[in-house]
Each structure stands twice: as C-alpha cells, then as structure tokens.
C-alpha cells in the first residue's frame, strides 16, 4: 500500500467522521429546537390533541300540569357522527350493514358530510334505535372516523298535542347564537309557545367535559384534572295551570274545526285549556326536522302555526253586550228598570236591524234575548253625549284592548277604539255615530282575541275582579327551590255587585232559555253565558260563546270561537257546554252534546243574514 493511499485513507476517515458528526449534530440541534425551544408550542399542541373539550347538553326543564303531572319531558335520541377525513370508505358496507340502511343511502350521506366539511364532525344519521346505537358502539374500533352521541328531544308523554301551548324548538339562528353566550351552533331554542317565552328558564347551562381521546377520536377516559370540567346545570322545571284531561278533551272537540278555545280559572287567571284549531303535530317537529311536514304546515292556507286563541282578532259580537250593560249602568244612561221598545229595528238616520222578538226590553231581558235595539240605544247615548273615550277606557279597565300579556308569544292586544283611533283609521272626524253604534253590539272596529273575551267574562264571573291570564304558576329551580307566582288580582272599581247581579241574571237566562239551551242548559251545572256572532265579510259568520260556571261560585270561564260556524248558539256554545260539564262534573254524561260537537262541520261560506241571537 502506497503512502499516498494511506494518507488518503486517513483523510477520508476524518472527512467521513466530520460529515457524520456534523449531520448528527444537525439532528441533535433539531431535536433541541423542538424539545427545548419550541416546547411550549408542542406541549400545548399535545394537550389539545389528546384532550377533547366536549359540551354536555343540559337537560331542558320539564313542564308539568296543574296537578303535577308531567306533560313535557325529554327523550334521548341516538346519533351517529362522521369525520370524513378519518373515515375509511372500505368500511362503508360494514357500516351500512350495522345501521341496516342501503349502501347507496349511506354513500349519499357520507358525501353530504364531506361537502359540509372534510375535517369537522357532523351528524351522519340521527334518531337511530338503541340496538343499532349499541352495535355501532361495539364496532367503533373498526370504524375509524365514526362517532356517536346522545342528544335529547322533547317528548310529550300525555295525549295533549299542545302545539300552540308548548311550542316547538328549532336550531338557533346564526344571529341568535352569536349574540348569546349560552348558545352554540346547533343548539335548539324555543320558537313558539311556552318554549319560547320561558326559553331562558327552561334552558339550563351546558356543562363542559374534558375527555382523553386517541387519534381515532375515541374517548378513552375523563381527563384527570376534573377542576376544569363544569357539570351541566339542568333547566328550571315549570308548573302550569293546564288541566290535562280538559286540554285533551278541548283538542278533541276542536278537531276538524277552525277557531279557538280558552278555558280559564276566573279566580286566578290560570289557563286550564287553550286550543287553536287547526293545530299541527308537535311530535313531528321534536326531533330531526321533517322538511316536508314543516313546509306543508307553513304553506297550509288554514295557518296551523297561527295561534288564534291569543293572536286572532275578531269582533266579539253579542258576547260584548254584558259589558255594555255594565258600562251603561255605571255611566247612568240606563238602570235595571230602563226599558227600550224593539220595533224590529233601531232608527238612527237609517234602520239598524234587530231580529229579537218585538216588544219592551229591560237590560236583563235584552241580554237574555240579545236585543240589539237596547244596546244601539245605549251606545247612541254614549256617543251623542261625548262619552266615547270614557267608554273605551272603561272597557280597557277589564284588561282587554290593552297590553295584558299572557305568557305566550304574539298575543294580540285587541282593539277597543277611542276617538284617536277612529281619527286614525277613518281620517280626522270622518266617522260618525253609526261607526260607534255598531261597536255597541260588538261589531265594527271593536275586535278581541278569544283570550280577551274570556278575560272580560272572568271579570263578570269573579265579582268585578280582574285577573292576569297566565299558564305558568310556579317554577322549580335545579336546586329544588320552588318559586310560586302570585296571581295578580285587581278590583275594577266602577263595577258594583248590584250591577253585576243584573248582568249575570241575564247571562243565566241565555243559557237556560236562549236558543242554545238544548246544549247548554245542564241542570246539574248552572251556567251563565252569552252567545255571539262575528260578522265576516269574507264568508260565513264566526260563532262565539263565552260562559262561566257554576253560576253561584264560578270555577271556570270558557270562551269559544268557531270560525265560519254561523250562530254561536249552535257552533260554539255546545263546545263550551261539554267542557264545563267535564270540568265541574268530572265526566260527560250528556253524550248527545258531545257527539253533536264531534260531528259539527263548519261551512266556510253560507249566505246567512247577520242576526242577533
């Protein structure tokens, strides 16, 4: 071996050693950089990686009826989620097999999820039954990218449909969850009914849970540091004044009709039953949104989403006459002995028709037989003497025509016109005594919701005390503390017992002697009431009936509106009679009334004359 060869060897060895050590020091430097200099970055990343923050949905508050019976609760629903980037498409047949759905359907769902986001988790299939859910859980290990979650939906354990009472939940809009620190994407919030009004009460506070997860997203265990977790705070339960059996019956009676019904405890204002017909199937809106159904009820010309009981506004017709009587007595234009002769029409520039039998009428008889002449005459005096605004304010003292909100959304205030209002509608002084007189028999611009008709009736039933209508009487905090709401009770000062006696006597006779007596006159339950007909320029008139019972110690006020039902005595009154019998007696013995109501059909149009009943 030559010298140069040996030299070259030594140099080469040194060169190789230098290169290798140099490159290894680069590696060491890299490791130093990652582990010492960038430690904070990767330590945090490692934490985030293996610890997943998960929201624990708080159980929504429950809803009970007046007897403490559960009427709205929560039901678990099982969902399968997918993270498309982790999903192995070869597993699709296996997944389809476990879920018992077709490959093509599942493929479509997976593609939908991929379009939403490749990396974010989305729901693949919701509301699967528990067996399939368990099967998925068992097979998660061979289904990368597939996850599961338990959510809840509203469940209605009784026969109450209650679509307008309870209301439905929908996913919060973007504006809603961005303006709230309690809501997050995908949360459902109440969009109508009690669910909407009591949203903040019913919604609890979501908890936060930290889970250790592996690379497949499978939860391994709870994170050790439990101080970080927050348990969910369940929503507050609410106790309503709803009488379940009465509500179920009311819904049954109103089925197939168009209109509304309000049953109220006159002493407290607690709503016992409330129906707006037609309604919709609340259960169908509870879980996964049935788009077809949702579109159908939105497009329905009968507007099932609209709560006629509180949002609807109709002229109260003759049901307003008892209030007119009270006001007339108070203002002194009439007394209990004042008589007015009905010649078949009241003359004031033109004849105002009155179909009550011809003869003399005092106040009691005028209410009992619903004579228009008596009240035209009274309203004429009120208008002529400049008492229109006084009249309006007296009516509003009963809590109608003004804001007296019930705990449901979109309640109408009703309209009880005064001169300002008439000026606005007709133009300055472009209205006359005729416009005012028609309001004396509950027609014209005067319009009230069924709830308000019940409200004014309750003042009569309750001896001149005004209540505030409400559905929720108490709430129970998660801590167990029960907060009772005090019913508001206000005496309407100008109503005297003496005056009330005349009015109530007249209303008693409506039930026992008037045209509805065949249905309403129940000897077991002495009832007082007033029929009415709301003029309907678009078709057949709407029938009204408002009533209270028992006569001596009223326990219930029932007001019924049957749209296009014609006379209130044949459409609305029988409905009220059945409800009153059920509520006071506990059962329905007069089946002929019950069956009559079930078979009653409103006709949308009918060329009937406006009549006074």
């Amino acid at each position: 071996m030559s010298i140069s060869q040996s030299n070259r060897t030594r140099t080469s060895i040194r060169a190789l050693q230098v290169i290798m050590i140099g490159m290894m020091l680069v590696v060491l430097g890299r490791v130093f950089y990652l582990q010492i200099i960038e430690y904070d970055v990767y330590a945090a990343l490692g934490q985030e990686n293996s610890v997943r923050q998960e929201y624990v949905d708080a159980a929504r508050g429950l809803i009970y009826d007046r007897d403490g019976r559960l009427i709205v609760d929560n039901e678990p629903i099982y969902s399968i989620t997918i993270t498309p980037s982790l999903f192995d498409n070869d597993k699709l047949p296996l997944l389809a097999d476990i879920l018992n759905v077709s490959d093509s359907l599942l493929t479509a769902r997976v593609q939908e999820a991929q379009r939403y986001s490749w990396y974010r988790t989305s729901r693949l299939i919701t509301e699967i039954d528990f067996d399939r859910f368990s099967a998925i859980q068992e097979n998660l290990w061979q289904l990368p990218g597939i996850g599961h979650q338990i959510e809840s939906k509203r469940h209605y354990p009784t026969d109450i449909n209650g679509s307008h009472l309870f209301g439905y939940l929908r996913e919060a809009s973007e504006a809603e969850y961005q303006n709230s620190d309690r809501l997050k994407l995908g949360d459902k919030v109440g969009k109508s009914g009690l669910e909407m009004i009591y949203e903040d009460t019913l919604r609890g506070d979501d908890g936060v849970k930290y889970l250790r997860v592996n690379a497949l997203g499978q939860a391994i265990s709870n994170f050790e540091d439990t101080t970080l977790s927050q348990p969910p705070v369940q929503g507050t339960d609410i106790y309503t004044t709803i009488d379940t059996e009465l509500q179920v019956l009311a819904e049954e009676l109103m089925e197939g009709k168009k209109g509304a019904l309000v049953a109220m405890d006159p002493k407290t204002g607690g709503i016992l039953a409330m129906v707006s017909a037609p309604d919709y199937d609340l259960q169908k809106l509870a879980g996964r949104l049935d788009t077809d159904y949702w579109q159908a009820i939105n497009a329905d010309t009968l507007t099932p989403l609209y709560n006629r009981a509180i949002s609807g506004r109709q002229p109260p017709g003759s049901t307003f006459k008892p209030i007119m009587g009270l006001i007339g007595l108070h203002l002194g234009f009439i007394d209990s002995t004042t008589t007015v002769y009905n010649s078949g029409a009241y003359m004031r520039g033109r004849p105002y028709r009155d179909t009550a039998p011809i003869g003399d009428y005092n106040l009691e008889k005028a209410i009992a037989n619903s004579s228009n002449t008596f009240f035209f005459s009274l309203m004429d005096q009120i208008a002529t003497n400049g008492y229109l605004n006084e009249w309006s304010s007296l009516v509003k003292d009963l809590g109608v025509g003004v804001s007296n909100p019930i705990d449901l959304p979109y309640a109408s205030n009703g309209i009880v016109p005064d001169s300002t209002y008439l000026n606005r509608v007709f133009g300055e002084n472009r209205w006359g005594v005729g416009d005012i007189m028609s309001m004396g028999i509950g027609q014209g611009l005067l319009s009230l919701s069924p709830l308000q008709v019940a409200q004014m009736t309750s003042v009569i039933a309750n001896g001149g005390y005004r209540v505030k209508p409400h559905i929720v009487k108490a709430s129970r905090m998660p801590s167990g503390r029960v907060v009772e709401k005090n019913p508001e009770l206000h005496q309407v000062g100008w109503i005297t017992d003496e005056n009330l006696g005349v009015i109530k006597a007249g209303m008693r006779k409506v039930v026992s002697e008037g045209p509805s007596r065949y249905y309403t006159n129940n000897p077991e339950v002495p009832t007082a009431g007033k029929t009415g007909t709301a003029q309907n320029p678009h078709g057949r008139d709407h029938g009204w009936f408002t009533s209270f019972a028992p006569y001596d110690d009223p326990q219930i006020v029932v007001s019924v509106l049957i749209e296009n039902g014609g006379y209130g005595s044949i459409s609305a009154a029988p409905v009220a009679a059945v409800l009153i019998e059920k509520y006071i007696e506990g059962e329905i013995s007069r089946n002929y009334v019950y069956n009559y109501v079930l078979n009653f059909v409103s006709r949308p149009t009918d060329s009937e004359l406006i009549d006074n009943e």
Partner: protein, 416 residues
Amino acid sequence: MNNVREFSWSVFFTWMILAVIGLIAIYSATQGPVSQFLAEYIQDNFFKQVVWVIVSLFALISIQFISPRAFIQLSYLAYGVGIILMILTLMFGTEINGAKSWLRIGPANLQPSELMKIATILAAANYLTSRRDISAENVRYALTAVVIILIPASLVFMQNDLGTALIFLSLIPVMLFWSGLPYGVSLFIISPAVIAYLAVIEWYYGLVAAILLTALIFFIQRRVWLTVTSFVTGFLTVSGVQVAMNQLLQPHQIARIAAFTNPNYDPTGAGWNVIQAKTAIGSGGLTGKGFLEGTQTQLKFLPEQWTDFIFCVIGEEFGFIGSTIVIMTFIFLFIRLLNMAGNHKHPFAQLVTVSFTSVYFIHFFINVGSASALLPVIGLPLPFISYGGSAFLTNTIMLAICLNMDFHKREFSIYR
C-alpha cells in the same frame, strides 16, 4: 485464537445499550396503554423482538469464531443466493404495508432485502478491492461495481420498498469514493440528491446549491468537463423537480411533499404524520413525560410508532435527555467503527466497515430526520431500535462482521 481483550467490547456494549433502548421503546409502543387500540399481532411485536435480539446475540457471538477471509470467499456466493431469494420474494412474497418484501420461512417472516445489503456490500467490496488499480479513471471497473449494486437495488425497488432501494443507491458514491474515486467526482455523484432536496422546498434554494456545489467541485478537481457537467446536472435536477411538482405528480403526491415543508398545509391529511411526530417529540421537553406516559404514543396519534416513528416514542417519553443519549450513543458507535476502518490495513475490511457504517448512518439520519420533520417521511427503521427482526438481525450481523474483522485483523495481514 486472539486475546479476548482485543475484542472491541465498547462496540459490543453499545450494541447492547441500543438493543435495550429499542426494547424499552417497542414495549411502550406496543405493550403500553396503547395496546388496546392495536391488533394482537402488533402487540406481539415486543415479544418477537426479544426473540430476535436473543437470536442475533447468538449470531453475533458465533460470527466471532469465523475467519474473516470467509467473508471474502463467500461474498459472491452470498450475493448469488441473495439475488435468488429476492426474485423468489418478488414471486411468492408477502405484502406488508404495500411492500412485497417478506418471505415466509417456517414461523418467521424474513426480509431478504435486509440480508441482501450485507451480500451486496461484501460482493462489491470484494470486486473493488481484488484489483489494485481501480480508480475513477478506470470507468469499466467502476461501472461493474455500480451494476453489482444496481441489480439488488432495482429488485428492492420492484418490491415497492423505496426506502431500502435508496440505501442501496447510496452505497454507490460511498463505495466508489472509498475505492479511489476522486473527491470531486464523488461529490458530483451525490450533488443531485442535495439539490433535489432543496429544490423541493424552494426552486432557488436548489439553484443556489447547484452553483455552490459546482464551484466546490471545480476547486477540488479543477477539471472543466466535470465542472460543466456538474452545473448542467444541477440545473437539470432543479428543472426536473419543478416539472415533476407542477406537471407529472398527482395532487396527493404533491400534497405529501408539500406537507413536509409546511405540515400545517393539510393538518389531518398528508401533514398529519409530520405534525403528530413533531408534537410527540416537542411535547417531551427536557425530561419527557415518563415511561408509558406519552399521550401521543399511548393514544396512538403516531403512525407506525414501533418502526418508522420509534424515535418519537423515545423523544416524548424520555425527553431531550433520552433523545440525546440515543444520538450520542450512535455518534460514539460511528466514530468507533470509522476508527476501526482506519486501523485496517486490508482494503476489503476498510471498505466493508465504512460501507456498513454508512448504511447505519443513512438509516439513522433518514429515520430521525423524518421523525423530526427535517426530511420528508421516508419509511426506514432506526438501526437496533426499531421493531423488525430481519433488520435487527442484518444490522447485528453487519456489526458482528465489523467486530470480527477488527478482532482478527492480523489474519488479514497474513493473508495479504
């Protein structure tokens, strides 16, 4: 028989240390809490590795009793048998992770391409050192040696094992350089790899590297034709990478390459492995999270953590201290082996020892470089540490041959 004191005990104990570190890491990666997410055959990897370590220990000891001349005499035969085994593997082999590299022999899965590394180095070394006058000027000899290496390299490539094919290719500059190829030419041979690597990151990095390397080659060799060829090759490499990135490669292949320069580009896609590996190492900090306590490891965020990403397991659970111990142990091993090569009088022993050391080094650099995101992910095991019976046995036999030739170096002197 030689005095056992002349045996290089330090290298032997280094081997033992690395084997034990490997077993600890493999235990954590397959038998720790992570085992609940692993298939049973993977959990068994630890026990299989224990068996392989014991088998290898016997092989290492047995080899010490062989005369070093046997390696020269048997080199062509081993090469021939190896080629036949490789062809058999291509025909009847088992495919694991996409590479058809395994041949089932009895209870064990053998990876002939691993053992072929030894045979190829021995055969090429024998060929290159049996003639006195080999130099770069004698292109015919150099090319023959290249062919000896290229045959198994292309067979490995056909088995779809890119990483190992790369190891074979890297033998060409190493072995030719050691056999008298001028420094400048050797540099020229490896320059395209460096240029391509930099051109993937940014094309002008590649261009700058091409110019600098050309200048270096000119200063070393002072040959105009070599300098011009070098510059043209460098320029073509940069252009080739550009064309490949923009025209030839499929989007997912580009994503994989792009992910290495910027892993955040596609965090759960191609960059996933890179980010998880970096996170594992980085979150280990100075002292690590503790044995079986690494969240990245035990929650299976790391892919192939018992082979290609085993360094992440060590980095995460034993921190910078653990990583440094591993790197320093390797540095010690490489220095010792190269010193051994320097002490050899016989060129065969020199060339074989240097080649084996280079094979270790390239494995080490690519494995740790991949795990720490210095390099794109190229699946190569970490010598003596990663799970893999054939690789461990091969690496041990290579070390045993180095030890043997060092132990018996006087027998070489006599022979020569």
